[in-house]
């Protein structure tokens, strides 16, 4: 298959215009000894029909969530996505554009990003937002680096209940810059202000990082107090949030956060085996000039009409090079666009319905599972959103996975897959989003009951 347009005679004409007889003459600057062999061991080319057949057959080797009923979350959620999201976000004019360097012919993208920034500010209750990061984890890492820059400190205090992969990414980004990541212990799945008080005093961290709902699904109750301790000792509060939960849960702004980050996957990005999603990053006004990444600003055109351009570009790598606030260039604009479409389609009432449906489904499921003999709710008194942790004493994760798969479920995530501490050995993170029906939940309860019987 080929996407090359030239006919043989066109190629001849072009070469003639260059005074050449062969395309090879354009490669004389490459020393012949550096040329690679013709056969690189790649598979032979395919025509479109052959490629399609091959891709279909490989896709069929997967069991996707149209065939498995999903009770697994842990940072990626099986959400309802209105058909209009892909239909609009994937319009070719958006899909096949690049970063809007020529603003006058990129007003669609720029306005959509400016509106996206506004929506993220409204959701998080913070003052400013950039126009997207790669994902939630790297957004957090950038927020941590921002905090170390603001405070001139190198220690960050990270809740034990943070998603372990987020923690790992913070460590990777931080290691290069001499940032030490210290753990803020969780007690019964929650991060407590008592612990924080003594630790912030001793460690004088650049920031305290909390996730709410946290990795175990729990809504952190002490967030405001923890933020106050952080502030009292000259540090910042960084909150990792689920944007859907923000329809019903106090916003990072209300809770005193300086920076809020999170994964935008739930806002219209399909699961797609882990990506692409996007990350969002919002902050209080005072941190604006330290934000990483693209930010769109409103302006006027030569006729005085409203228009949009990339603003504050002097923070960015293409202008500032090694003095830039971050090295990010390409971001995840398409995911942010999908999120803006998603939020517009749902509106405040729709988003609230999604959030309350998650809450109701998960609470119904937890109440029923909690009644089963052989099933133990690990943190029964903690407030949660759409996920909670079970203990299934004496079951091994492989068995549990297989038992659920046999009945057509992607069951809960064995926490031992991500957490090495033996205390998580027979624990499982269960998730019920708005996509689950009562029938599916009841059947899941029944399968669990049969398994533990």
């Amino acid at each position: 298959m080929s996407y090359l347009p030239h006919t043989a005679s066109e190629r001849e004409r072009m070469l003639a215009a260059l005074g050449c007889r062969e395309i090879d003459e354009l490669f004389t600057d490459i020393p012949p000894r550096l040329r690679c062999p013709q056969d690189l061991g790649l598979p032979p080319p395919l025509r479109e029909n052959e490629l399609w057949q091959l891709a279909r057959s490989l896709a069929d080797r997967n069991q996707d969530l149209d065939h498995l009923c999903c009770f697994r979350g842990a940072g990626a959620y099986d959400r309802f996505i209105p058909a209009a999201v892909a239909a609009l976000a994937n319009r070719a004019e958006f899909l096949t554009a690049y970063t809007p360097y020529q603003a006058e012919v990129s007003q669609g993208e720029l306005q959509a990003m400016w509106e996206y920034q506004s929506l993220i500010c409204n959701l998080t209750g913070l003052d400013v937002a950039n126009s997207s990061m790669y994902d939630g984890a790297s957004a957090l890492a950038e927020a941590v680096l921002l905090a170390t820059g603001v405070t001139g400190r190198t220690t960050v205090l990270v809740s034990e209940a943070l998603h372990p992969e987020y923690r790992q990414v913070v460590e990777t980004y931080g290691a290069a810059r001499g940032v030490t990541v210290e753990t803020l212990p969780a007690e019964q799945g929650c991060t407590r202000s008592r612990e924080t008080a003594s630790l912030t005093e001793r460690k004088q961290p650049a920031a305290v990082v909390l996730q709410s709902p946290n990795f175990f699904g729990i809504l952190e109750e002490d967030t405001r107090a923890i933020g106050e301790f952080a502030h009292a000792h000259g540090g910042l509060l960084i909150l990792v949030v689920d944007p859907i939960s923000l329809a019903i849960v106090a916003s990072p702004g209300e809770l005193g956060a300086d920076l809020a980050v999170g994964s935008g996957q739930g806002l219209g990005s399909p699961l797609a085996f882990g990506g692409p999603y996007f990350g969002f990053l919002a902050a209080r006004q005072e941190f604006l000039r330290r934000l990483p990444g693209r930010i769109v600003g409103e302006t006027v055109d030569s006729q005085g009409r409203r228009g949009f351009v990339l603003a504050l570009q002097t923070r960015e790598q293409h202008i500032r090079r090694e003095k830039a606030t971050s090295n990010i260039c390409t971001n995840h604009a398409l995911g942010a666009l999908a999120a803006a479409v998603y939020l517009s389609l749902l509106g405040p009432a729709g988003l609230t319905e999604v959030a309350t449906a998650c809450w109701r489904n998960a609470h119904y499921l937890a109440e029923r599972l909690g009644r089963l003999r052989g099933v133990e709710l690990l943190f029964p008194s903690a407030p949660f959103f759409q996920e909670f942790v079970l203990r299934l004493p004496g079951r091994n994760p492989e068995e549990v996975d297989q038992a659920f798969l046999r009945q057509g479920f992607l069951g809960p995530l064995p926490l031992s897959r991500l957490l090495s501490d033996p205390k998580w050995q027979d624990t499982y993170l269960v998730c019920a989003t708005e996509s689950r029906t009562r029938e599916e939940i009841d059947r899941f309860i029944q399968v669990t009951q049969e398994m533990v019987a």
């Binding site: 090359l4 896709a59 990506g275």
Partner: protein, 512 residues
Amino acid sequence: MSSTNQGADGAYPLLFERSVPGRRGVLPPATTVPVAWNPERLPASLRRARAPLLPELSELDVVRHYSGLSQRNWGVDLGFYPLGSCTMKYNPKVNEAIAALPGWQRLHPYQPEQTVQGALQILFELERDLCALTGMAQATLQPSAGAQAELLGLLLIRAHHQHHDPAHAARRRQIIVPDSAHGTNPASAAAAGYEVVQVRSNDRGLVDVKHLKELVGPQTAGLMLTNPNTLGLFEEDIETIAEIIHAAGGLLYYDGANLNAIVGIVRPADMGFDIVHLNLHKTFSTPHGGGGPGAGVIAVTPPLAPFLPGPRVEYDAAKNQYHWRAAGPWTVGRLREFYGNFGVLLRAWAYIRSLGAEGLREVARTAVLNANYCRAKLQDCLEVPYADRPCKHEFVASAREVHRRTGLHAQDLAKGLLDRGFHAPTVAFPLIVEEALMCEPTETESLQTLDAFVDALQQVVHLAYTQPDELRTAPHRAPVGRLDEVLANRHLKLRWLPDPPATGPTAEGPTP
């Protein structure tokens, strides 16, 4: 344009200006579980006072809004997009159709291996094929973009030095980048905690080898280089450069932004590079999405493989099964959640499968033919430095003469191109060429398109000398006139605020 897409003052309406209180769009799933929502069940400190202020629109309102916005946006599917170093080639539709299959879209990242064998096979084959094309031993598909791959590459350099010479690793604090380098190179080096040292270009537009020799020493951690460079010129002294860096104990990093010129023809490993990053959204045709998502890949020589992040996919031939293998003990760590931008990786896999090695080689040859053809045609109207030898996939023209005689800038010529139905080349980069217009036609553009572009640019240059004011105020036929960037930065308006703004910057909407 429909009247609903035209505001009173001629501006395109905002989402928020279309909002009508109480209007609903899509209704989400309704649950019927016998547990009612009650805010009282949340601790008081955790309750949101009011629902977030989101627009209230019908589905059709939203469809019209974004359809109208899309009509105010330029993409490759509409026309020529010769943005230099961005490789804005055609994004094949079959790859989109493949990526849209539920068998990929509806996969949870934490599914058991047995349920995702097809997805694991894609990752395995893509890593294998990209290693073959770069001559490298192993790769990670994790980085989300080129810049994140650069950061990873630099962390690998640091890990290598710490592992092999821990006593002197701290001394290796400098990364060398050419003065023609992409801005991400120095920014990534700084993000990885390195000092940035700039090596000059010589009068042939190539790395000044003599200067490089002066710069290297026991403080050198490595050199980041794109080849061909941002002038579109092949670094002919690459073997000498590699020798100099390696002799000093440093590593050589290949910035793959410009791989489209040489894919299938020269492998970075054969040029002496130790680490390679690839932008799959450039050479491997995945759509740029208005600024992402892309995907970066880092491929390395065998000694660097132990430092790669994990997990990676392995194939068990005996069982005919693919499985995850966690990162080893020397890994520099994870860069993102889950495994990488799978949807992007899948499209790149499809592209490679459709072309094969021979097809990819033709891609490079045609990209180079197109760039040289454009360059030759433009030499009558614009200065083209370093034109004593063929360029590769791109070239940089200079509007220096236009500027000297008219006061116009390269950006003014760019705006004139917008009026003639073309996206502009990259403007004012690389920094070492005055009034630069960096032009990368790519291989998928036809002779007719290239000729029309050359004509348009010639007209614009002619206009510069005859009616400069016409260009100073251009564009005149775009959705908006010239935008005031100074105003945008002086009076920052970075979000919508309700009118009147009495409710403040963290305003909330009505209680649901």
